[in-house]
Amino acid sequence: MADIRGKFTFPGGTHPPENKHFSENSSIEVVPVPKQVAVLLSQHLGAVCVPTVAKKDTVTAGQVIGKSDAFVSAPIHSPVNGTVKDITLEPHPVIGRTMAVIIETAEEGNAPKQPVNTRFDKNFDPNDYTVEQICRAVKDAGIVGMGGAGFPTRVKIEPNPAMPKEVLVINACECEPFITCDYRVMLEWTWQMLAGIRLAAKAAECEKIRIGIEDNKPEAINVITDAIQERSDIGDIQVVPVKTKYPQGGERQLIKSVLGKTVPTGSIPPTIGICVLNVATCAAIAEAVMTGNPLTHRVVTVAGCAIAKPGNYYVPIGMRVENLIAHCGGLTETAAKVVMGGPMMGFAIADLSTPLTKTSGALTFLTKAAVTRAKYEKQETPCIRCGRCLSVCPEHLNPTKIAHAVKHFRMDIAQNYYLSACIECGCCSYVCPANIEITGYIKTGKILKAREKKRLG
């Protein structure tokens, strides 16, 4: 295989050990249906859903169990057949506790849902569907960005006369260490993903499609390039190998690398005519449009030294972490941290009964050695002003200044140094020799600022 070198990149960033070897060669495996699922009513950014079912109701797989009328929202669905046991507070990886619909799965008629990738091939034609059909299907399926933030996809791809979009950038970087779920989707569900990309491009009225892939995934680059070449009539679609560097998969960074454009601070990509979608999201779009299946399952990478059987699993959304751990052979004795998401941006969870959400692409199980001793023991030493955080910041901020302003509740200074421009990638904390939780302070600052705004009305 020819050595592929990405030419394009962005300034700043860092190179954490990739650690993809745990799971990159494991095919996507369907897990058995758990006895109980807990579907959180707050899966992502935007409005919290209101349950549409009551206690003791019987639900079927794919049935809507929660929705919201807010513009930025997405409905949620039951992944299994069963009965609603309760609607109660459950641990949430990000916001502590939130309401969830708990469903006991029926004992019969509950074969695990299989991926639908076999229904897609190179003959797929997005022109079989109208823009309205696509948007409707995406909305009803409750699809959100599956790469992390979970912004409702419908809002992104719907035609918007105020912000016409020209370029669709597919985020296939997967720059976080350990995570391989998008990589496996690219390899195994290539046609499904391409179908989703073309559907999204059609809905968003994008003429140009660019797929940004880090050059540490040459196989994925080849597979997708070959697939595109098999269909010469599918328009301006290109694979762009980019340099392997964290956070290459941040949408602002990816746009800089792939198109050379800069998204203005405080703006979103559509303001400069760009729409960014993640690989798994595209696969979900294709499934929703073709089969009408809602987003109830996703691929989750299980990786790290502290788990017996790492791999990529096709799991129902709402499955509890402890059930997946049990399926993967259990934690090893050395487990020190369970992270939902990758080690750079994921959320450490304390309660293993936390359910998986639409945005949890990975579960990373870290040992004390992987966490590093200083971080494990939370030894923070004074800032020596070495400036490493400034040099790695992909947004060209002054992280130490912001962090120390927040530490002393000087929100005016923090804001003056562009607190809100931070993308929370974690590069600054990663390189800090004093082991200061810079990103943590900045996140706290953002929360304090939001509270202040709320208080002032």
């Binding site: 860092t14 954490p16 050990p17 260490p177 602002r252 800089k256 800069t262 998204v263 601070t265 405080g266 487990a335 020190a336 941290k337 369970v338 992270v339 998401g341 080690p343 750079m344 941006m345 994921g346 450490a348 969870i349 293993l352 990373t364 870290l366 966490v371 590093t372 971080k375 494990y376 030493t381 004074p382 800032c383 020596i384 002003r385 070495c386 400036g387 400034l390 040099s391 992909p394 947004e395 060209h396 901020l397 002054n398 130490t400 200044k401 804001q415 003056n416 140094y417 562009y418 421009a421 904390s429 990663y430 390189v431 020799p433 004093a434 082991n435 939780e437 990103t439 943590g440 996140k443």
Partner: protein, 336 residues
């Protein structure tokens, strides 16, 4: 087993780099210069270095004890301060003066400001300034390296200033004032590269300092900005003066390799605590240090300008930081 699982903000991994590691690298970077110092000045050097390092560590330990703070010797920053102070002292300095200087550096210049990371001035340079002001004679008495058997050659019959009593730069300055031939002086000073000359402990061997500086650059303990800015600014400054009047001012390369220029560029001005944060700020800071050193050397009364140049730039470095505020990658936001 569950009790062992911990939570903290992301990221959950970190580079295996600590403040101790950074300081350790600086110590390794200073090792060649230390070896050179011991090679040239024998036991005198060992005594001064050991005294300064021990006194610095002891001062920090006592300060933490009095302030009821956890012991911070583990970060090795006191060792670095001690080494740099020792390297900027004359070899023949009485050990009691070295102890006073070390205590001043740590207690007054570092711990009273709040410890590591909070000091405004480079502790070693501030202590050296204190010693110069208090014990002027001790600080300007230079001995020849123990490895030099005979006195360095006299400049000419018309001038009797002996090199044995002065650093090369001081010697050159007075020699030129004494109407010595600049070309002859230059030729003689070129020999300073290996370090077999009088001067402060650590600054004599340019070769050893370059070696250590390159190590720090390779290890990325320091970035190239400050050393490059200091050396380029000093070179340009010296070159301009040399071009204007080659009879009065010595060659630029002599200025770069002589005196404390190299130890300043690689080890003193690069002290992260007292230098600006941003790359642009580092350039300004470095150029300021380089230009001030040359200004003091050429125009001022002192033969050597490193100490005051660094202290002056330390004082303005918070202002530089404020002036060089970074603009986010996406430009300034329209609404804050």
């Amino acid at each position: 087993m569950l009790s062992k699982i911990t939570v903290s903000p992301a990221p959950h991994i970190s580079q295996k780099l600590s403040t101790r590691g950074v300081m350790g690298d600086v110590i390794i970077g200073l090792a060649p210069a230390m070896a050179a110092a011991i090679w040239f000045f024998h036991l005198q050097a060992v005594g001064v270095i050991l005294t300064c390092v021990t006194a610095c560590m002891a001062s920090e330990w006592i300060c933490n004890l009095i302030r009821k703070k956890p012991n911070s010797l583990g970060d090795l920053s006191a060792v670095v301060t001690g080494l740099i102070l020792a390297f900027s002292l004359p070899p023949a300095i009485p050990l009691w003066a070295a102890v006073i200087g070390s205590a001043f550096a740590i207690v007054i210049c570092k711990m009273l400001f709040g410890g590591l990371g909070a000091n405004i001035f480079n502790p070693a340079m501030a202590a050296r300034a204190f010693l110069t002001a208090s014990f002027g004679m001790l600080m300007t008495t230079w001995t020849v390296p123990a490895t030099v058997d005979t006195q360095m050659p006299k400049i000419s019959a018309t001038n009797t200033v002996a090199v044995t009593q002065a650093t090369p730069l001081a010697w050159a300055k007075s020699a030129i004032k004494g109407k010595a031939d600049v070309k002859e002086v230059n030729a003689m000073l070129k020999g300073t590269f290996w370090g077999n000359v009088g001067g402060c402990l650590g600054e004599t061997s340019s070769f050893a300092l370059l070696l250590g500086g390159v190590y720090l650059l390779i290890r990325r303990t320091i970035t190239f900005h400050i050393p490059a800015a200091v050396l380029i600014a000093a070179f340009v400054f010296a070159e301009i003066f040399y071009l204007i009047n080659p009879d009065k001012y010595s060659m630029p390369f002599v200025q770069l390799f002589g005196g404390g220029m190299l130890i300043c560029a690689f080890f003193i001005a690069t002290d992260p605590v007292t230098a600006p944060l941003s790359a642009k700020g580092m350039w300004i800071f470095g150029v300021g240090v380089g230009a001030l050193i040359m200004l003091i050397r050429f125009v001022g009364e002192y033969p050597e300008g490193v100490m005051y140049a660094v202290l002056i730039m330390n004082a303005v470095s918070p202002l530089i930081d404020r002036a060089c505020k970074l603009i986010p990658a996406g430009g300034k936001p329209h609404v804050q």
